[in-house]
Amino acid sequence: MLLTIEPDGTVPIYLQIRDRIVEAIAGGRQPAGSPLPSTRQLAVDLGVNFHTVNKSYDLLRQEGLLRISRKTGTVVQRDAHSGPPDPGWAEDWTGRLRTLLAEAAAQGLPAEDIVRHCRDALADFAFPAGASS
């Protein structure tokens, strides 16, 4: 997986790392069970502080997407093929989605354009066969 961040961008680096890993899992490039570098190794490769990567991994662990153990290292815990999410997760996500869509509406993007952008984004993700419809 190629993980690209903007170190001098406006989004905090730990959130960028977290977002890129979530996108890689959704896109099928980092399936469930696949390994990720240790926090120190990824910090070296991105040239950022070790604590920054640690914060990203910890966030992903809390979201149930990563499993971190001394024995197996850092491994992707789940992906689109791992079944439905935990109860209650969808409510929280819907709240964040509503804010994101509200930003587009507030900026004057027509509803059909918003839907088209959503479809384009979904086209990049690896859903289980028959689930994308």
């Binding site: 190629l2 690209t4 001098d8 990720l36 990824l42 070296v44």
Partner: protein
Amino acid sequence: MTPATLIAVLYVPMTGVLICLSPAISRPTLQFGVRIPGDRAAMPVVRDERRTFYRRTAAVASCCTIAALLVARRGSTWAVQVILVAELLADLGCFGLARNKIAAAKQAGGWFAGRRQVVTADTSWRTSPARFPVRWLTPAVAVIAATVLIEVLRHPSLPPGHPAARSSFTRYGPVIGQLYVTVLWTGLLLIIYRSRPDVDAADPALSARQYRRFLVVMARTMLTLVALIDLSVLLSALRRWQIGHFPGAVAVLPVAAGLVILSVVTVRAGQGGSRLSGGRRPGPAAVADRDDDRDDDRFWKAGLFYVNRDDPAIMVGRRFGVGWTFNFGNRLAWLVLGVIAGGLAGLLILHAVLGPL
């Protein structure tokens, strides 16, 4: 001419040629230690400074080589070494002039203004790491073993009072030297294997593939050079132990061959393997609408020394030329440098005790 003088003479033209060629084997986005966007590599100021640098450094290399040959004929090793230092300083001056011009043009033109500057990591580099070529250590280990064996067999028959038989310290001097070189370079290569690869934002997948090949090629070449250095030490030891009766120049031949091989491989590979094949190579037009590498000039002092306290890397790819350098903002890097300097100081003491090999 002593072996030490011959090596010093050889270094002068080789250093000159390698420095002269450095801009040609650097990445297009790194010009004289200045990070520039890919589509600015063909700017007139960049082209002009490269041409001027070629002319200046070629003149420096020619003059210094002639001067080194003249003083070497009188057998003065230290004078050749002074010429080598003078050559390096003159080349550094040429580098500084070119760097200042390009940095000023970049600043004045706002070359990075409004561009998306990124850093890319290839996670497969860690999850499927390149394997260290352990087998390529075999020649060096074999030469060291042969040196120990010959010394053990020869020692009882050395004439009384022979300098090499004074103590066990002087007795195993050549082996200690061989071990220092072999352990030092193996250790550095292991650190380099754990360092981050040079991933180019314009085409991360291609540059990651090139870097994998580059690392393997450079590690094999360096381990070959180490074996050849050990062989030169063995040949010098044979003369010292009065086993072989051959001119001192013969002992230098393996090192000379190793340096030539390293130079050829370096030029062919390019910075971070950028000249190695790895599929499609994007041209300036192709990268114009892509991401740019992060403008990290502030971490490179004088365009040569990397100082970044927030970066946990001990070693990183060199900014000018081919190879690696230390992150001087990292305490572990200073520890490694201390160990290298300590070993070198020990060797110099050994050299002073044993006399010239």
